[in-house]
């Protein structure tokens, strides 16, 4: 909404004279406002300049000129800001100048500054609904709850007849925690309404919102009465029934609760929420930790299975609760049903049971039993229910295939890669045309560390069904894992929009976080740090977009009355960066910034001659072309509108038409990002949101420590360690950081003693009365797990940087006969040896290669080249098939 020259509050005489324009110019100024409103920016600019010729000091015109300039010429935005600010100085008492500045800040998504300007404009011009409405939206967007209540109250006072203004106030009060006031506002609103048409959706939504407010206020009795009173006006029957059922449960009315949840289960017996609540209503709890509690919940679920035999969810939850022979019987039925039907996901589904070793072994035994029986008699060979002694159903050969598929996943999960490969090869030999099989082979090889073999298998899988985007996505992912970025983008391009400048630009528009993350990691592995940073920043931007998406809904939902969903949106937006992909982007970017801080010479942009830089340049060129084309199209369509003498159908369409094409990315290869002189400040930008929304994740505080210690904020570094320690006292990742800090603190001699004393006391809290050496060794007593051995090796390298023997000794334990160290741990250990410049690197690589014969990380460059060559040949085969 553009500013309007409305009635003005009394202003001091001096300011008034400054603002005075004779009637001719006053008319022109009105025209400027109008031209802004109709988006005739260039015309508006000319009109404003005409006024300024005679009245160069006129603040409001100066401000409008700045606003128009920024809109008509986005590249001259800075100049626009300067003009508006000059206008503000010339006429501080005008609401227009502040409104104009607020508008520009808002369009730049600088909501904080925009709100300051709107607040100023509102102070001058209390009665402008236009200003007040925008200000209200900004206050809620920035979560100034109390200010939002004030703004909503002011709006309601001015327009008490509009339904949405009552609702707006209630929402504001609810968000500010003023439950009683929100309840009262909603009651007043409901009493005021007359003749609501039966079954009106909006009214139904308001009633359910009112019920939500009551429930959150803890008024459970009143809430359930409220629902009963309005039952016939609520059209969202499901929401009504679910909330009522929850209330019955919370109020301890078990019998009606059981009935209510039972009815909901009839509608959807696959809802975990319904199942769990039903069990609670029956006096048991599926989350119980005791044997008796689990048995009670299992009994309820077993009875429920009789009633809803087709619900997999009930049976799956039951598998968590039962054990021993009962588990064996129930798991067997669950698995056989799935294998006979050829459900590919059944292993992924049961895998989380493997944290219980006994269940893991039973599942393995069962599946091995099926395989033998299917080979011998083409039956699963076990009784499926108690009546029959054995099941004689002859299975199709597909059941055998899916059993092999299941077993291959079982052995892969146990890191028995060779056994897994034998099984999957057998399955592929059985049915070479099923994409699931090479897809699994790819995953097994990936786990074994063979990136090239994995890629070849996945390429084969895609070749079996070129129409399937899922296979295409997986193939692209494996290409990225093998650092073949250019090829990956080509493959992805088979499914992206044909009119997009590049496949990647479409994927960025569609916010494809997974592609950005995989590319970022790949570029980081290839030491193309500029491009890696670019991708991590693009991920950061996606999250920012998602946060900003909520802006329009502040007003939209008050019109649509979808208030429960709106409250969800606000709560969700507040913690959208707790998403694991945001964490990964932040971690990836911060690691590069830390390296840049430590030694800029190790982190240089990828040379210009490489393919990626060329691709980036090509991307920019294509984007520019696309932009030019879009401009052209726009001109054409505008002409058309003018020619036909028609106005655009509605205002919204006109607005969209005038939106300038997105600016061309001036730094497509991330060189400018990498050229930063303040890498730690950049790191902080990624870190800050994590400290807020991912404070429960140990990883957040490990990164926080690394940033703080480099910023010489030692108290913050200590806080980070302490927070991590409180979250996970025995974290093997935290341990070496504590050791590093304990070694570091005594070297801080030039600091005030108050600080060093706090730090020393903090260290003591973390390591106890032990010496640093003893503390470091103590981690080995936390179990013989390889993670702790590596942690101690890292610790030792900080305590004795001059002598490598201790670290080396520990690290070599990991590749000893009988060690259970994973590929990840051993790869990290190799990284440690390299970082301390150990002389035993080659020896370690050899030992690791013996332990992980397929892993690319321990292969010589000749071996790798041969593997890549082989993968490429197989890919060629794949391409031919696709083109068929």
């Amino acid at each position: 909404m553009p500013p309007k020259a409305g009635t003005k509050a009394p202003v001091p005489a001096a300011a008034k004279s400054n603002r005075y324009l004779p009637s001719k110019e006053a008319g022109l100024f009105k025209q400027v406002l109008q031209q802004y409103e109709t988006k005739e920016w260039k015309k508006g600019l000319k009109t404003a300049e005409t006024i300024l010729k005679s009245y160069p000091e006129h603040g409001e015109t100066l401000a409008m000129r700045g606003l128009l300039l920024a809109n008509a010429h986005p590249d001259r935005k800075a100049e626009g800001y300067d003009l508006i600010k000059e206008g503000c100085r010339k006429d501080v008492g005008s609401h227009i100048v502040w409104h104009v500045l607020g508008l520009l800040y808002r369009s730049d998504k600088n909501f904080e500054e925009a709100l300051k300007c709107y607040t100023q404009a509102n102070r001058i011009e209390r009665d402008s609904l236009n200003i007040l409405g925008d200000m209200a939206t900004l206050t809620i967007h920035l979560r100034h709850y109390d200010a939002y209540v004030d703004a909503r109250q002011a709006i309601l006072r001015m327009q008490p007849r509009l339904r949405k203004n009552w609702i707006g106030l209630a929402v504001a009060q609810h968000l500010a925690g003023q439950y009683a006031e929100a309840d009262r506002t909603l009651r007043n609103y409901e009493d005021m309404l007359r003749e609501v048409p039966a079954g009106e959706y909006e009214h139904s939504e308001v009633l359910l919102y009112h019920a939500l407010v009551l429930e959150e206020a803890g008024e459970l009795e009143r809430c359930i009465d409220f629902l009963a009173e309005h039952a016939t006006s609520i059209v969202d029957r499901n929401a009504y029934s679910v909330q009522r059922a929850h209330l019955l449960l919370k109020l301890g009315r078990m019998e009606p609760a059981e009935w209510a949840w039972g009815t909901l289960l009839e509608e959807n017996p696959d809802s975990y929420e319904y199942i769990k609540a039903y069990v609670l209503a029956k006096g048991a709890d599926v989350d119980s930790k005791t044997d008796e509690g689990k048995a009670a919940a299992a009994a309820v679920l077993t009875a429920l299975t009789e009633k809803f035999p087709r619900s997999l969810a009930i049976r799956r939850i039951n598998l968590e609760l039962v054990s021993g022979d009962e588990f064996r019987a129930k798991a067997s039925k669950y698995l056989i049903d799935a294998l006979a039907k050829g459900v590919p996901s059944v292993f992924a589904d049961v895998k989380s049971l493997y944290s219980d070793k006994a269940k893991r072994d039973i599942i393995g035994e069962l599946a091995e039993g099926y395989r033998k029986s299917l080979e011998a008699t083409a039956t699963f060979g076990v009784s499926l229910d108690d009546e029959t002694a054995s099941d004689e159903t002859i299975e199709s050969s597909a059941a055998y295939l899916w059993t092999l598929y299941f077993l291959a996943q079982h052995y892969s999960a146990l890191s028995s890669h060779a056994a897994a490969l034998t099984l999957i090869d057998q399955a592929i030999g059985h049915t070479p045309s099923l994409p699931e099989l090479p897809m699994l082979k790819a995953r097994i090889l990936k786990r074994a560390g063979d990136v090239h073999g994995a890629l070849a298998a996945m390429t084969e899988a895609r070749a079996l069904d070129g129409q399937d985007r899922f296979l295409n996505s997986k193939n692209a992912k494996y290409l990225l894992r093998a650092d073949k970025v250019e090829e990956a983008e080509k493959v992805l391009g088979l499914f992206t929009k044909k009119d997009a400048p590049t496949p990647l630009s479409d994927l960025i528009d569609m916010q494809a976080l997974w592609v950005l993350e995989e590319e970022g990691k790949s570029f980081a592995r290839q030491s193309k740090f500029n491009l890696a940073l670019k991708r991590y920043h693009q991920m950061f931007n996606v999250f920012q977009e998602v946060e900003e998406d909520q802006y329009d809904f502040h007003t939209y939902c008050l019109r649509k009355m979808t208030l429960r969903a709106y409250i969800n949106l606000l709560r969700y937006s507040d913690q959208v960066r707790s998403h694991p992909r945001y964490f990964n982007a932040a971690k990836g970017a911060i690691e590069i910034y830390l390296a840049l801080h430590d030694d800029p010479s190790t982190v240089v942009p990828a040379p210009l001659t490489n393919g990626a830089a060329e691709a980036a340049a090509a991307e920019k060129k294509k984007e520019e072309e696309a932009k030019a084309k879009a401009e052209e199209e726009k001109e054409k369509s505008k002409k058309k509108v003018v020619d036909e003498g028609k106005k655009p159908a509605n205002k919204k369409a006109a607005e969209e038409d005038e939106v300038p094409p997105p600016a061309v990315d001036q730094d497509p290869s991330g060189d400018k990002l990498l050229a930063t002189k303040e890498p730690l400040d950049e790191a902080l930008k990624f870190l800050k949101p994590l400290e807020k929304v991912a404070a429960g994740n140990v990883g957040t505080w490990l990164i926080s420590f690394e940033v703080a210690i480099r910023r010489e904020k030692y108290l913050q570094a200590l806080t980070a360690l302490k927070t991590a320690h409180s979250l996970s006292p025995s974290s093997p990742l935290l341990h070496p950081l504590i050791v590093r800090f304990a070694v570091f603190v005594p070297t801080l001699t030039s600091f005030p003693s108050a600080v060093t004393e706090t730090l020393q006391a903090g260290v003591k809290e973390l390591i106890g009365d032990l010496s640093v050496d003893a503390f470091n060794s103590s981690v080995l007593q936390k179990g013989n797990s390889s993670e702790y051995v590596l942690a101690a090796a890292k610790g030792a390298s900080s305590i004795h940087p001059e002598s490598k023997e201790e670290s080396e000794g520990l690290v070599f334990q990991l590749v000893r006969e009988g060690s259970d160290a994973s590929l990840k741990i051993v790869t990290e250990a190799l990284g440690l040896l390299r970082s301390i410049q150990s002389s035993r690197v080659d020896e370690f690589v050899k030992a690791s290669a013996a332990k992980f014969p397929l892993a690319a990380a321990f292969k010589s460059s000749e071996e790798l080249a041969a593997a890549a060559q082989k993968a490429e040949e197989e890919e060629e085969v794949g391409k031919e098939v696709v083109e068929d």
């Binding site: 079954g199 959706y201 139904s204 059209v235 969202d236 029957r237 499901n238 929401a239 509608e267 959807n268 696959d270 809802s271 975990y272 929420e273 997999l312 969810a313 799956r316 039907k341 050829g342 459900v343 590919p344 996901s345 992924a348 589904d349 989380s352 994409p435 699931e436 129409q467 399937d468 985007r469 899922f470 996505s473 499914f495 929009k497 044909k498 009119d499 994927l507 528009d509 569609m510 916010q511 494809a512 976080l513 997974w514 977009e545 998602v546 998406d549 909520q550 809904f553 939209y556 939902c557 649509k560 979808t562 429960r564 969903a565 709106y566 969800n568 949106l569 969700y572 959208v576 998403h579």
Partner: protein, 152 residues
């Protein structure tokens, strides 16, 4: 699999599944538009760890000249999670909500003429019928089958 109404916090997971599976993709804002206008009619299927493995993104058509009816913007299930009947269950729940909350009498959807796999799903598994061919419905010029399922 846990099957339940989609909430705002599921939308990124739905977008991710859609991007992996289908050629028609949307920015988050469009998912939000669905979720905040008709929060009742979209559903997700998630695995035991809470990852979205299938979804239906749906809306209501409120053209006053026609009977109220629902429209499926997008439905898909990750390839590995097929043969569990998830698409069918998601569709059933969505239809039920369209009917009870919005009085819908039928549900419509569009499918690319060349997308035989999807066509088979809608026709044979879900019971949709082709109503007409909409020429050049898609941005790249491809025709769409407009399909419809009447609710009983």
């Amino acid at each position: 699999m846990n099957i339940r109404p989609a909430r705002v916090e599921d939308l990124l997971g739905m977008q991710n599944a859609n991007l992996h599976n289908l050629p028609e993709n949307y920015a988050m804002k469009y998912y939000l538009y669905h979720g905040l206008t008709w929060p009742q009619v979209s559903f997700v299927a998630e695995d035991h760890k809470g990852r979205v493995v299938g979804y239906i993104l749906a809306k209501m058509e409120d053209d006053p000249s026609e009977d109220p009816h629902g429209h499926v913007t997008s439905i898909s299930v990750l390839r590995n999670y097929r043969r569990l009947g998830l698409a069918n269950k998601l569709m059933q729940l969505s239809q039920q909500a369209m009917k009870t909350t919005f009085n819908a009498s039928y549900v419509s959807l569009h499918v690319r003429k060349t997308n035989r796999a999807a066509l088979a799903l809608y026709k044979d598994t879900l019971g949709f019928e082709v109503v007409e061919i909409e020429e050049k419905y898609y941005a790249d010029g491809e025709d769409a089958y407009s399909m419809r399922l009447t609710m009983n």
